[in-house]
Amino acid sequence: MVRSLLANVWDGVNEMIDDTQHENLYGSYEWKHPTQVAGVPWKNPVATASGTFQYAAVRWFYDVSQLGAVTTKGVSPVPWEGNPGIRTAEGPSSNINAVGLQNPGVDHYLEDDLPKLKAINATVIANVAGHCDDDYVEVVSKLNDSPADMLEINVSCPNVSAGGMSVGTDPVALSRLITRLRKLTDKKMIVKLTPNVTDITVPARAAVESGADALSMINTLLGMRINIRTGEPIIDHVTGGVSGPAVLPMGLVAVWKTRSALPNTPIIGIGGIDSGEKALEYLYAGANAVEVGAAALFEPTAPLRVARELDELLDARPELADKLAKGETWR
């Protein structure tokens, strides 16, 4: 049913562009400032954020293997259809999305997306979605034998095992889940946290104490818009997740607070990054690396541009660059 999600991206474009030219895209670039996340080396500190990157769509724009890492769309045990109707609205300096985790399932991922990304030598973070603990267990078991470089567990999906709230809002449910997943894989496991909680350091600590190797934050903030012509919500699902520049201050504070609470945990900063300067703010807040999300919706090449800008900015900051290269952080 969702098979064609990754097929036929621009059949029109396929006719125009000679695929053999792909390796020329941007020629080669020598990254000056690599980083490490939980011991895994990244060419540079900039990755794509899950849900805003699909290889089939992005490959026409730039050589995705040049990124620090590529985080793929959340995968579930079986294909998910996501939400019907209108899925997006605009906020001031933001996007609101209610995809509902549509994805073609982990088997498709293992056969199609992942091998293609590994074939071009990308560092791949496989993002994992689930509506109950067993969903996560099934996906993580399958990914354990795959060439994925890291796993990112998205605990922000509405989850039956946590009574319909997301597991990320309930430290007890979260501990139980991560403890279970830890036994299934030797791969470095990043737990991706939601900002829609009273104190993000509580789930952060729960995740780390249960075996997470690293944390990434933030996922989207809950939001909505209303159509003043109809008086009804623009998005059929009513609410969605807010991302983009508007969420930058909230993402920074999440990283800052978590860094203070957990001085030695690797952290990937996410939220509102659309320039090297904003990526740098996250590194100064204590992140080891960053992910670029919504910016790639508005400007396809944003992740690589951010990485290049950051590489330049780090030239003038040898102390920070040094720490990152060693897997350490500014704070």
Partner: protein, 272 residues
């Protein structure tokens, strides 16, 4: 595969290598109000002008950094290195674009999406309602260059017939109607005999409000005519990366921006 416009620095090399240009700035050549709140905007972009196919669209980006999402518009006409769109002011972005003047710059990306299939010889019946007109003007322009194909425009308007002049440059026949007289189905019924007698297989290409397109699909099904429909959906990226623009089809929930905007009536399961 070169372009006359300037791109953001990071894609300059990619573009030179022949790859797909990311969002980039172009110069506005002309912007005129055709009728109350409907504009025809022309900008210079050799890449889009030379590659766009009918029903493909262009993402236009606001110059206001607090309005980040792309605004998609069907390509309406191309001329040398110039691309024309037609749009109605319905919100903040289009209100801004209405104010663009020759010499201003605007950021665009395209051409995006798939296109109407117009390779076979046929009588292409271009059925549009309101702001569904632009892609069908482009279809007429394109079909004018297809060996053995003819086109018949069937346009429905609220009142002012802002698109007839442009379709008339390319289509073999242009029929139009406004709300006071009826709608595109009224017109289709009226010219049905003519279409059947033209000696060429009629193929419907259509774009417009959802209820209109559903009626057109039903009309086509009854007559066993081929029907390709260009859909609209709110978009996040316009290039296939975010899965925000889906439509329900018999093949599942597909992306309007890259699996579409054009779908056959069979794929949509409409009109059965």
């Amino acid at each position: 595969m070169t372009t006359a416009t300037t791109f953001v620095p990071t894609v300059a090399e990619a573009t030179a290598a022949g790859f797909f240009p990311s969002r980039h700035e172009v110069e506005v050549v002309d912007n005129q109000e055709l009728t109350d709140g409907v504009y025809r905007l022309t900008f210079r972009d050799e890449y889009i002008a030379s590659h766009a196919k009918p029903a493909q669209f262009v993402d236009v980006y606001s110059n206001d950094p607090s309005k980040l999402m792309p605004r998609p518009f069907g390509v309406c006409e191309t001329n040398g290195d110039e691309v024309s769109l037609m749009f109605a002011v319905v919100g903040k972005g289009t209100a801004e674009f209405a104010g663009l003047k020759a010499g201003d710059t605007i950021r665009v990306m395209g051409p995006l999406g798939n296109s109407f299939k117009t390779k076979e010889p046929a009588n292409y019946v271009l059925v549009a309602g309101g702001l569904g007109v632009p892609p069908l003007v482009h279809a007429a322009q394109h079909i004018a260059g297809v060996e053995g194909a003819v086109s018949t425009a069937v346009f429905g308007y609220r009142n002012v017939r802002f698109g007839d002049e442009y379709a008339g440059k390319y289509a073999d026949k242009v029929y139009s109607i406004d709300e006071s007289e009826g709608n595109v189905i009224t017109l289709l019924d009226r010219i049905e005999g003519e279409l059947m007698d033209s000696g060429l297989k009629p193929v419907i290409l259509t774009c417009g409000p959802l209820p209109m397109m559903k009626a057109v699909a039903a009309w086509a099904v009854k007559r066993d005519m081929a029907c390709q429909l260009s859909l609209e959906q709110r978009m996040g990226c316009g290039y296939g990366t975010c899965v925000l623009c889906t439509v329900d089809t018999l093949d599942g929930r597909l992306k309007v921006c890259s699996d579409g905007p054009v779908f056959t009536r069979e794929r949509l399961g409409w009109g059965e």
